[in-house]
């Protein structure tokens, strides 16, 4: 090592290593006099070994009789071990003690070698006592050498500690110029300037670049070396391994800032939006809240949205069951279009599982008009002409066998005849109750509801059979409202006027009264006699049997009789005979009251 390959004149001094170089020179000029010991440290590739060897060579040049020794610390420990093994430790010690300039490189490798550390400690003490020089080199300062004996560390720190940093611009340029002169290569100053601009972690990296430049220059003799250098540097920058986590730490910082800057409710809502959007649902209903300056009731907003999504899922499932082509239709992904989705399902239901319809043969034409049903027929005509907008509901009442059912079915048939696309649900209230019970039993309540709601008009016969079942009345209440509120026609029949419907909720009664309540009178004796027998097929209701007729005859009409006799107390308005209308010449714009 001390053969002159490494010399001071081939070591470029600069701001990054000036102290180390001048200390090494001073030690080389006068070993044992300047620093006890000299401790040099630098990361790999920055010139520690070069400096140690240059120091040793120079010292032997100054004093040819000087005994100088260079060892790597690992080698030192191994030799010690070998000597101890051979049993000639004393000879080994004598040999080391005779060295006047001891250069020990990479002392960090002594970590874990307690014996070698102890020997070195002894050796340093011996050298100091004798005026010998010890120079140590390491990749870390003594304070960072964890595995070394404290006494040894304190000896190491007792002289001068000098570091060699990565070469700065001037040093890099100096190194490049030196190499150019040593290697005698044809590179102009501009190329070296360019190369020196590149910051390197160690001199070997710079040497690598220099070598590439030389090699590339040989391949492209016509190209200016500076240009090649620029290209090389650009490549070197790209090849440089990414600084650990520089971007990641930036990202973490930004994440933390966003999280703390955004109001928490916005973050939560944005996450909710992202989740639903991720599941394919439109989130238009949620996004306006993000615009607001005030936080909404997040729980309610999210619950409402989740509820709508649940409904959409059920509807989509039902729709797909009826018609597989309906699965995945966009409307089932938009919680703002639940009603539309429901309408689609209802239409599908109407097509694949329609509600009960009217009996075909019961038409207006085969009803016998007369004074008893004149008003009802006229009202029916109006309803058929203007369904949903004129009289809604139309409430027909009358004694059994007076032809209510016939008229109700006739209205339904006329509505369908008027518009072939219409679905008119015609059902007896008793059957409706049975269906409801069955739907509840089979868990198809929603489907049952939609089946009726899908209809364009609803005709319910014998609503007196709603009596007694609160659940049925509840369901019917909603069904009724759906139709009336949606401008769809409802026709109801009963054997008594709304007010006298026993055990039917008043909310239903009052709604029944809100439309037109029309009585169909009993079939007169003459009419009944005039009817031929046998009764035509399917016209039993309009043409009562003799038995029914006799039954009817046996029942007086108590309401009318009671009303015609003024009550002892009560509102005089209701006692005004003029308000009691039993014959109806015309109904236009008139308040119609049924005699009670």
């Amino acid at each position: 090592m001390l053969d002159g390959r490494f010399r001071f004149d081939t070591f470029v001094a600069g701001p990054s290593n000036r102290l180390a170089v001048s200390a090494a020179r001073a030690v080389a000029e006068a070993p044992g006099q300047a620093y006890h010991p000299l401790f040099l440290y630098a990361e790999s590739g920055l010139g520690k070994t070069h400096l140690l060897a240059a120091l040793g060579f120079h010292a032997t040049q100054v004093d040819p009789g000087l005994v100088a020794g260079y060892r790597e610390a690992g080698e030192y420990a191994e030799q010690l071990e070998a000597a101890a093994g051979r049993g000639d430790l004393n000879a080994w010690r004598r040999e080391w003690e005779s060295i006047r300039l001891l250069l020990l490189d990479d002392v960090q490798f002594l970590e874990g070698h307690a014996e070698a550390q102890a020997e070195l400690l002894r050796l340093i003490d011996h050298a100091q006592a004798r005026g010998h020089q010890v120079v140590l080199a390491s990749d870390r300062p003594p304070a960072d050498l964890d595995g070394l004996d404290q006494r040894l560390l304190s000896r190491m720190s007792g002289g001068l500690i000098a570091d060699i940093a990565a070469p700065d611009l001037d040093t890099r340029l100096g190194i490049l110029h030196l190499w150019r002169s040593i290697r005698v290569v044809d590179l102009d100053d501009a190329a070296l300037d360019e190369l020196s601009r590149h910051e390197v972690a160690n001199v070997r990296e710079l040497l690598g670049l220099f070598n590439r430049l030389v090699a590339q220059r040989a391949l492209e003799p016509g190209t200016p070396a500076a240009g090649i250098a620029r290209v090389l540097l650009a490549q070197a920058l790209d090849e440089r391994p990414p600084a650990p986590d520089e971007f990641e730490s930036f990202l973490n910082e930004v994440t933390a800032v966003v999280a703390s800057s955004m109001e928490q409710w916005r973050v939560r809502l944005a996450a909710t939006v992202a989740r639903w959007a991720g599941e394919g649902y439109r989130t238009d209903a949620l996004e306006p809240f993000l615009d607001g300056n005030e936080p909404p009731d997040l729980d309610a907003v999210e619950a409402r949205f989740a509820g709508a999504v649940t409904q959409l899922r059920d509807l989509e499932q039902e729709a797909a069951r009826l018609d597989p082509r309906l699965a995945g239709v966009s409307v089932f992904r938009d919680p703002q279009r639940v009603d539309e989705a429901r309408a689609i399902v209802m239409r599908a239901l109407a097509a694949y599982d329609p509600p009960p319809a009217a009996a075909d043969h019961l038409t207006i034409d085969n009803l016998s008009p007369g004074a008893r049903n004149q008003l009802a027929l006229r009202a029916a005509g109006e309803v058929i002409a203007l369904p949903g907008s004129r009289y809604n509901p139309l409430f027909l009442h009358g004694p059994p066998s007076s032809g209510k059912t016939h008229l109700a079915h006739a209205i339904a048939n006329a509505l369908v005849a008027r518009d072939g696309a219409w679905t008119v649900a015609v059902v007896d209230a008793a059957a409706l109750g049975d269906e409801l019970i069955e739907a509840m039993r089979t868990g198809e309540l929603e489907r049952w509801r939609m089946r009726y709601r899908a209809a364009d008009a609803l005709i319910v016969d014998n609503v007196q059979f709603l009596a007694g079942s609160d659940r049925l009345q509840d369901e019917f209440f909603h069904l009724f409202n759906t139709f009336v509120d949606g401008g769809r026609q409802v026709v109801l029949t009963a054997d008594v006027p709304p007010q006298r419907l026993a055990a039917v909720a008043s909310r239903l009664q009052s709604r029944f009264e809100a439309g037109l309540v029309v009585e169909i009178g009993r079939v007169s004796e003459a009419e009944a006699v005039a009817r031929y027998t046998p009764v035509p097929l399917g016209d039993e209701a309009a043409a009562p049997t003799i038995d029914a007729w006799f039954d009817d005859m046996g029942e007086p009409e108590p309401a009318r009789a009671t009303f015609l006799q003024p009550a002892a107390t009560g509102d005089a308005f209701f006692l005004d005979p003029e308000k009691v209308v039993s014959e109806w010449p015309s109904m236009d714009g008139r308040v119609i009251e049924d005699p009670r």
């Binding site: 930004v254 109001e263 973050v267 944005a270």
Partner: protein, 201 residues
């Protein structure tokens, strides 16, 4: 203002690197470009002259991914530093959410720095922006050059930083101070997110 688009759940920040010609604005973007994983960045677009100086601007989009439910994007721009590209500078500066002023630390560039910094104030004022409201940081670049050539950060502070904004000594070629600068300006920009005026659809 940083754009927070709640409809598409995006945060987009435009950060402009301003400064005199050859002060290292493009070097900043190039370093960031090299450090950001390829999947997170778009192509760096440079409209440059033959002499390698930015003619119009550089543009580097960075996608930071979903942060708190928001897709967060940064758009980094540089302006051409040369005096005669005044109108281009105005154009690029428009709508900036944050500004990094990259000063050239070389002593002989002191005048250019001052002139460019003044130009920045002027440009912001022309756009009706109060410079006190704009997140702004100063970067003293080329601090790696020999000490006798460059002014120290303290000297540059005395020269430029009368607004006492955050400053960073940097060597944009080597990368020192580049991310520190970006991090600080991003933080300043993002801290303004909750301001209602920044909320648009």
């Amino acid at each position: 203002m940083p754009v927070v688009n709640y409809a598409s759940r995006e945060i987009t920040c435009k950060i402009v690197y301003y400064g005199p010609g050859r002060s290292g604005k493009t070097s900043n973007l190039q370093y960031i470009h090299r450090r950001v994983p390829a999947a997170r960045r778009g192509e760096m677009m440079s409209l440059a002259t033959h002499g390698d100086r930015t003619l119009f601007f550089d543009f580097l989009p960075i996608d930071l991914g979903a942060i708190s439910g928001f897709t967060t994007r940064f758009q980094l721009y540089t302006v051409p530093g040369q005096v005669y590209y005044r109108s281009t500078r105005r154009l690029v500066l428009q709508g900036a959410d944050g500004v990094v002023f990259v000063a050239d630390s070389q002593r002989r560039q002191a005048e250019e720095n001052v002139e460019s910094y003044r130009d920045l104030h002027e440009a912001l004022a022309e756009q009706g922006v109060d410079v006190r409201d704009v997140p702004l940081v100063l970067q003293y670049n080329k601090q790696d050059l020999p000490p006798d050539l460059v002014a120290s950060p303290d000297e540059l502070d005395a020269l430029l930083n009368f607004r006492a904004v955050p400053t960073f000594a940097a060597d944009a070629l080597g990368g020192r101070g580049v991310f520190e600068t970006l991090r600080r300006v991003s933080e300043l920009v993002l801290r303004r997110l909750a301001t209602p005026a920044t909320v648009i659809r």
